[in-house]
């Protein structure tokens, strides 16, 4: 595989890197808010993967227009799917932050090890 071919998968490289950075953040950080930031990154990477795969070179939005012969359309389905997944991600993040707020109220800290020590 030549360098150009490797670079051709630029979006997928970004997907893999962002995914790993997110997963690392979730595992390595002890601060609960930072963990959620990592989780959010991790999910965003997947959004990028879906958006990338629907791209057709020279493709436009799938709307029929007058005077355009043989139009090339990008696949709209992954975009719709990922719109749903983004909503799921936002709700998860909101719920996670709400839990962190409750943890702060009950424990007075959002550092994981201090919470473990408290019980």
């Amino acid at each position: 595989m030549t360098l150009l071919e490797l670079l051709g998968y630029f979006n997928y490289w970004v997907f893999a890197i962002v995914l790993s950075v997110g997963l690392y953040t979730v595992i390595a950080k002890v601060n609960l808010v930072k963990k959620l930031i990592g989780l959010s990154l991790f999910q965003s990477a997947v959004f990028l993967m879906y958006i990338t795969m629907d791209k057709v070179e020279g493709g436009t939005a799938p709307i029929f227009q007058q005077g355009v012969e043989n139009p090339v359309f990008s696949n709209p389905l992954p975009q719709v799917l990922i719109l749903t997944a983004i909503v799921v991600g936002v709700s998860t993040l909101a719920l996670g932050l709400a839990i962190v707020v409750r943890i702060r109220e009950c424990y007075g800290t959002i550092e994981e090890h201090e919470i473990l020590d408290a019980d």
Binding site: L19, V26, F42, M49, M53, T84, S91, L95, G96, V100
Partner: protein
């Protein structure tokens, strides 16, 4: 108007639509009554579908009239019907028994929200079982997960909060892994409908992305299903959740993910990926065996009653995975039956725990000494369900252990090892259940119950109903057996 063809959709739509309405039922007790009525309706729908399906039909429903594979399809076969019975049954039984326990544990003002989350969890779990396409399974999985995070964190125990945070992180990681896998399969096949996917994967020239997708899907679902060693979120989440939520989720929460895992393995990948059968066996079988042995051993030394039972759930998930990993009809039959029987046994045990919790604040086992004297009926129900969990003849648990051992005996050279593992872990179950029973019956009391006497009647009646069901399905197991053997045949033998 005949509603029968619409049952698969109503199964999800009824609780989903009722959930926001229940929030409006502010007067005391009304939210509970409303939610119970809807859960009852959902159970009736599941029962009607199970009857229709056991006659051999697969119910299919095209949402909005758009036919599959372009539209969203719902499909209820024998396997999903069995699962729906478990989900709606657990949801109904737990919510009927829940009233007194929830009144103690959750502020009156927040109860409508609590019951609303309960219905959302029910709708999400049922949705996973009826959905016939991979992406809807993801959406319903997240609906049910988000609702169960709320339910678990809803109690008065502050330790539930870090536990639910961990569950949220691991659950979301699992769901996102699943989403990556589904995306990769969509990339290669251009479809999301499971049946269509099965037909098209065979045509894919480069199977590497599909293999990677299978890996992502397996790991993601194993996280959700608490397959050892991805189970670390489960014991704390179940231990500190409100007691009735534990009953509901322990009976069906993780099983749904196991169901999706089995469905993907056998429906989509099995015939289409070279060597998939061996790969899944060599991946899942060791995890199942380790889970059975390690979790049973850990359960023997857990001092907290709820955590001990929660840890035992990890071992029981191991049995279900073990049966499925044989990839034989007998193994799948054992898996399906154990899904049902474990829900009965563990649901009953956690109901008995909820009864004990009415009078004992501290549920560490040594604090419960002598409880059988003031709560004889609760303790007896605990014994019956415990025997079923161990697998004593005459109880439901015996049927599935028997089937599992018969399936293991077909496994050639290693058969005796597998049988030995099942037997040893059953002995460990004897130890961890019997030490509780011994403490309840034969130890001098340590802590005084907050008030002498039995648990509230409604709770006790439901507990005994489940305990009797454990005996009933042990003596007359035809109904779950019919469904799971139809499911096993469908999973292994179907061709398109």
């Amino acid at each position: 108007m005949d509603l029968t063809p619409h049952l698969p959709a109503l199964q999800v739509v009824a609780p989903l639509l009722a959930a926001p309405l229940v929030v409006l039922l502010k007067p005391r007790g009304l939210a509970w009554a409303g939610a119970s009525a809807v859960a009852g309706l959902a159970f009736c729908i599941a029962l009607a579908m199970a009857r229709a399906v056991s006659a051999g039909a697969v119910l299919r429903y095209d949402m909005g009239g758009w036919s599959a594979p372009y539209g969203i399809e719902l499909a209820v076969g024998p396997f999903s019907a069995l699962l729906l019975l478990i989900i709606t049954g657990a949801g109904l039984v737990a919510i009927i028994a829940a009233r007194t326990s929830v009144n103690r544990q959750i502020d009156a003002a927040r109860q409508p929200l609590f019951y609303s989350a309960w219905l959302l969890a029910l709708a999400g779990l049922a949705g996973i079982a009826v959905a016939a396409d991979a992406f809807n399974i993801f959406v319903f999985m997240e609906i049910s997960s988000l609702a169960s995070y709320v339910l678990i964190a809803g109690g008065p125990d502050r330790r539930a909060l870090p536990a639910v945070f961990k569950y949220l992180i691991m659950g979301t990681l699992g769901a996102t892994f699943y989403l990556i896998g589904v995306g990769m399969i969509y990339m290669m096949t251009g479809t999301l409908n499971l049946a269509d996917m099965e037909a098209r994967i065979g045509e894919v020239a480069h199977t590497n992305p599909v293999l990677v997708a299978a890996g992502f899907i397996t790991i993601g679902l194993a996280l959700k299903a608490a397959v050892f060693p991805l189970h670390v979120w489960l014991p704390n989440a179940y231990t500190h959740a409100p007691h009735m939520v534990t009953v509901f989720l322990a009976a069906c929460g993780t099983k749904v993910a196991v169901y999706v895992l089995i469905r993907f393995d056998f429906f989509v990948f099995q015939a289409n990926l070279p060597g998939h059968e061996l790969q899944s066996t060599f991946f899942l079988l060791p995890l199942a065996v380790l889970g059975i042995l390690v979790a049973s051993a850990v359960a023997m030394f857990e001092g907290h009653l709820k955590r001990r039972l929660a840890t035992s759930s990890v071992a029981q998930i191991g049995y279900i995975i073990l049966g499925a990993s044989f990839a034989t009809e007998a193994g799948l039959l054992a898996s399906g039956t154990h899904l049902f029987n474990h829900a009965l046994a563990k649901g009953g045990l956690f109901l008995a725990v909820a009864c004990l919790a009415c009078h004992y604040r501290d549920l560490r086992i040594d604090q419960l000494a002598g409880a059988a004297r003031s709560m004889p009926f609760t303790s007896a129900a605990f014994v019956v369900c415990g025997l079923s969990l161990i697998g004593v003849p005459g109880t439901a648990g015996f049927i599935s252990k028997w089937l599992l051992i018969s399936a293991a005996l077909e496994q050639g050279d290693f058969a005796w090892v597998l049988v030995a593992i099942v037997l040893v872990s059953s002995l460990m179950a004897v130890v961890y259940i019997w030490r509780v029973v011994e403490t309840l019956y034969f130890r001098p009391a340590v802590a005084q119950p907050s008030s002498p006497g039995e648990a509230p009647l409604s709770l006790l009646l439901v507990t005994w109903l489940v305990a009797l069901a454990n005996i009933g399905f042990g003596l007359a197991p035809q109904f779950p057996l019919t469904l799971s053997s139809a499911a096993a045949q469908l999973l292994l033998g179907h061709t398109l």
